[in-house]
Subunit: 698 residues, 2 copies
């Protein structure tokens, strides 16, 4: 198969995903939006989300523009690197890929969020008029708009860039653009949502004693906006980045095989046509994943007559299994036969590596589920320990998260060794792609969650019948298990993708002997291990600051707006949205610079070996912190819910108060800091890869 026709197939599947998005959008917009109050609230959330995105994108694209200009007008640097190439060209191509990568991610976030914020009231209304199944249909359709936009736009853009430039070096810029937008979307969104959430809760629930989502609380709209900003747009951008990077890392590794004489002992003697095949395989697997995700989503939409939990779960499984089956045919058709480390001469090594990735992702997901769900011992024991006060709750929550790193790490380590034995670093990259091929489905289910959550808030604020809230709460809970698998895929694939990028970086800089005892490597490892800590600390600070300002504003409104507490006057939610937006952007700047500049500085000071060490150190520690924080937060959240369900004294007991403190500590862990670490390590890795040609000649 020629390279172009393979990429063309991928392009068509990307466009198909976008057509599916158009269908979903028109379907959602046809639905009833409910009564006037609901429409008004929904409108406020839409406007808040739009305002945030506008500000966010203004800042991101200032960064993007500056960096793009540096790439484009720095042919002097490139001249030293590729004296035999029209170097101006590579600089400009990288810059264009970079901008397009950023735009694609921003567009996906914009579309996904616009529809998510339009789906919430419609879900509430469907819950009121059509019951559980109708509501599930709208919520999953809303989520799928985000999911399919992510894969559709990013794959379409990537294929177009590839078809125009045919340059595996310049195209790395595309991943970097996506990564930069993801950083702002994930971390900025995370600061926004948790600052608003903590501010709303600490004054509302704790001080004023009014319930969650009470319409008198001015920070509630900001909180709802935050759910969309962080959990829809942030998560989407995060997975979009991993998705693009998994494809690009696979391509880059295949490309570095063509350059190196014997970079990879497993694939030593193959022809240049066969290398083209290896480069095309990731595109085709991505295409297969898109088709499978569409099938999975349609299954959920149509299968809603039965148990909704089962529908979501089965849809996810169907998408995964279909992708595996299609990947088998793809690799069997155009793969390259060679002898793997087990002495087997086969084309299918990369296929089994791909399967190893998917299986390990599922196991990681179920481990998360075990450690964070109220159905199992860890959370139940945590809830029990809340009886000894908030300090023991927090300590216990941290402890649960730490414990939960063990199984995923062992599984991922085994998957790395296995996929490497099957087909070298190319196999490791394909393992990442295995998890990420169904990104469309994963993001759909993950974005479904906040829509259901928002719908519940809307039912509360519009004062609808309690049964409506019951349905939306149920919907919210239903998505959790499926979302846990998605989270496992996100964490596992980020680690794999980052390691693949590091391998691609080492290949691209033609480094040999990156040895552990090299002092540069050791120093790099230590600094790499430190960076996630520093990054987390900055984000914690930003969330606290945002919450602090939010608290002051809510207190001010309670004090100054006459009749607010009696329900006779309306609060002013826009100032709260403003505060969150400003804090989020301001809070992002220092960590953003840190993430962008660290690899550059390390590359110049420690050299490419030290930089490789730094990246690996950051991946290793970032993986642990990412898992720990996600699961500590999840466990403390569900520990509180477990108590609220009537255990250990139920709502209002001392145990509950302790659990609320735990939940408040856990919230930024799981929704801001933890997920941002993923982005940090991926961004640093992809910047290193983009700058690899430069470091190669240092």
């Amino acid at each position: 198969m020629s390279g172009n026709s393979g990429v063309l197939i991928a392009l068509i599947s990307g466009i198909a995903a976008l057509v599916f998005v158009v269908y979903l959008v028109s379907y959602i917009l046809k639905q009833d939006q409910g009564n006037e109050k609901m429409q008004k609230i929904s409108k406020m959330v839409q406007l808040g989300a739009k305002a945030f995105l506008k500000t966010e994108y203004k800042y991101v694209f200032s960064f993007v523009l500056v960096i793009a200009i540096i790439f484009a007008i720095a042919p002097i640097i490139w001249k030293n690197v590729f004296p035999d190439r029209p170097m101006l060209e590579l600089g400009i191509h990288t810059a264009i890929c970079f901008v397009v990568g950023g735009l694609v991610s921003a567009a996906a976030g914009y579309i996904g969020m616009s529809i998510a914020t339009r789906s919430n009231a419609r879900t509430t209304e469907a819950a009121r008029t059509k019951g559980m199944n109708g509501a599930l249909d709208i919520a999953i359709s809303g989520g799928a708009v985000m999911g399919m936009s992510v894969v559709g736009l990013s794959l379409t853009g990537l294929c177009i860039m590839w078809l125009i430039y045919h340059d595996p070096v310049a195209v790395n810029g595309y991943a970097m653009g996506a990564s930069l937008v993801a950083l702002f979307a994930r971390s900025g969104g995370g600061i926004f949502t948790k600052g608003a959430d903590m501010g709303a809760d600490l004054v509302g629930k704790v001080e004023a004693g009014i319930p969650e989502d009470d319409p008198r609380n001015p920070a509630v709209i900001a909180d709802n906006v935050g759910d969309n900003v962080g959990d829809v747009a942030g998560l989407g951008a995060d997975l979009l980045e991993s998705y693009v990077e998994a494809i690009i890392a696979t391509v880059a590794i295949a490309f570095s095989l063509t350059l190196a004489t014997k970079a990879d002992t497993l694939l030593p003697y193959i022809s240049s046509d066969q290398f083209t095949s290896l480069m095309v395989i990731p595109f085709l697997i991505a295409a297969a994943g898109i088709g499978s995700s569409i099938v999975g989503i349609m299954f959920v939409k149509m299968g809603t007559g039965k148990n909704p939990q089962a529908a979501l779960m089965n849809g996810t499984y169907i998408a995964a299994i279909l992708t595996v089956v299609l990947s088998y045919f793809i690799i069997n058709k155009i793969g390259v036969p060679f002898e793997d480390s087990f002495g087997v001469y086969t084309k299918l090594g990369p296929f089994w590596a791909n399967v190893a990735g998917i299986v390990s992702g599922i196991i990681v997901g179920f481990t998360s589920e075990y450690f964070t769900s109220g159905h199992y011992r860890p959370v139940q024991k945590l809830a029990e320990s809340s009886q000894s006060g908030p300090a023991i709750t927090v300590t216990g929550g941290i402890s649960v998260g730490m414990m939960s790193t063990a199984i995923p790490t062992v599984i991922l380590a085994a998957a790395i060794i296995l996929s490497y034995k099957l087909s070298g670093m190319y196999g490791v990259a394909l393992a990442a792609l295995g998890m990420l091929a169904t990104t469309g489905m994963i993001v759909s289910v993950d974005s479904y969650g906040p829509i259901a959550d928002n719908a519940g808030g809307m039912a509360e604020m519009a004062g609808l019948d309690k049964s409506v809230r019951g349905i939306t709460d149920n919907l919210d809970a239903v998505g959790n298990t499926t979302a846990a698998i998605g989270k496992g895929f996100a964490i596992g694939s980020a680690a794999f993708a980052a390691l693949s990028l590091v391998a691609a970086f080492i290949g691209a800089t033609h480094l040999t002997n990156v040895e552990l005892t090299d002092p540069q490597v050791m120093a790099g490892l230590l600094i790499g291990a430190m960076l996630p800590f520093l990054f987390c600390s900055l984000l914690f600070g930003a969330v606290s600051k945002c919450a602090f300002e939010m608290i002051a504003e809510v207190r001010r409104q309670f004090r100054e707006i006459k009749g607010l507490m009696e329900g006779k006057a309306d609060p002013d939610p826009t100032t709260c949205v403003d505060i969150s937006t400003r804090s989020a952007i301001k809070g992002m700047l220092v960590p953003g610079f840190l993430a962008i500049l660290s690899p550059v500085v390390a590359g110049f000071i420690l050299g490419p070996k030290g930089l490789a060490g730094m990246l690996v150190g950051a991946v290793a520690i970032g993986l642990m912190l990412g898992i720990q924080m996600a699961n500590s937060g999840g466990a403390m959240d569900n520990g509180k819910k477990y108590i609220e369900a009537g255990h250990f004294g139920g709502k209002g007991s001392d145990a509950h108060k302790a659990a609320v403190v735990g939940d408040t500590v856990g919230d930024p862990l799981k929704d801001t800091v933890g997920p941002s670490i993923n982005i940090l390590i991926k961004l640093m890795a992809v910047i290193s890869l983009v700058l690899a040609p430069l470091f190669a000649v240092l």
Copy 2:
């Protein structure tokens, strides 16, 4: 200089340290013990500490015995490794060194703790009769018994083993014995002390509303015992281990240079006599450190007429500077000239590496001081944020600790590169030894703290005049800054020592090409990064469990002992000590097995390369977690004290309540979990080194 005469000098200095200990003990025992009540309390603490040590040692030496027997009767394994050696001999020598290393550490702990628990009442009495300076004299003398026992016993034992066997392989067993005892002393002691502390506080202060150290609280004695068990014996064993390992790693690296053809490019062509010199240098530097520490301690004892803060600080500086000066003469006299990476032909490369170690240790210490002292912004801001409740306090505390990793990591990374450039891995090992040469002084000052703390408790319980408590509180505060430097040395040196051990391991297994992209190494790095998380989680669980049982027991006594709350009846402290002891030992077993078995299992499954990766991963993440936890805990502790000093509402305010929650979360972080990570990584590294000959032939 012949090898023997150098080691003989070290042996003499070790014996001199022990003579100094005898002098200090007789001096302390001559002092007045105060009134009957104080003697009774002091006796209870002594008995409690003795009981704990007895149980602890029973368990440790069961482990030690089993492992020693395995070493001794496993000549079949050794046969495959060194076919040309009388392999039974190496096994038996290793076993004997191992047992002696364990005994030496246990003996130092026993002596140090016996005297520390006898110094507390005498310090209180001196504070009452002779004021600040008299009390300082007793407290530092008591601390110095621990400090000089640590260095005296361990160096004496090491020299004797060396002089008997002349075997740089067997002697690694000595470090492993010290390490195993340290694990139990540090982690077991940590569980004991924090379980008792949290139990005492949560019921006493929070529920019953009685003050800290109130004699009616049955857990107070256990709390006091815990201070000695954790902060005196635990810390002593920890630093004893680092001290021994720094010496042994330097020797092992020098030895592996003689084996490898070109293991270290910096020291390629030197004679076997010169290698002997390189092996003797660490012994002589250790001897210099002992002499300097004695001078430093005498300076504090005699200089107490002036400002006590200045006396402690200057004593520490004098010891450090004297050691540096003596090291210069040692290395200049018997060092080996070669060209370093800067192109300078000199003997003094190792000397400057040594200095780099000391300077970086001091910087790390001052960074800790900045992030944990109430005199600086971070703690003040943390205290301010306590006004927003416990969740923000805890988040803020974690954040401060995370931030505090940045500077130490950069400094240590720079020191690694610098000392490597000056004289290869030998230089890195000497940097560790530079920090640890003054271990005698460091442990003395660190052990002084809990003695002063205990003396305060005693004044409270014996109902002495408030001015006495004022003096002891002051003494306690005075040691803090100096202790911060000690902590910096402990953390920095542990990282250096562990990295040196890894290098020695790689040398001993004759590994080449331990490359970062090797899948075994990658998998090892991830698993190594995970182990500290798992280990921490287990320790957190053990502390919570201990606190939980303690709470139940204190509640039971308050309920069942009639007249206790009115002060008419005495509580029963022995049951509380029993609970802590049992919980500590039980809680240690799983983490203990984890620490011992991980390197063995990893070595067999992942191979020596994977094990090397695992060790480096554990060192990198262990360093970060160690610094973060120590400083998070310290910051939350001092944040609470800052509020108690009258800021933000002072004692009893909402901010104070939030700060108390923060302190309770921070306590196990800084006193149990954080310090134990050091031990975990060192123990895994030293076990790997001992088993290196085995893995070398796998």
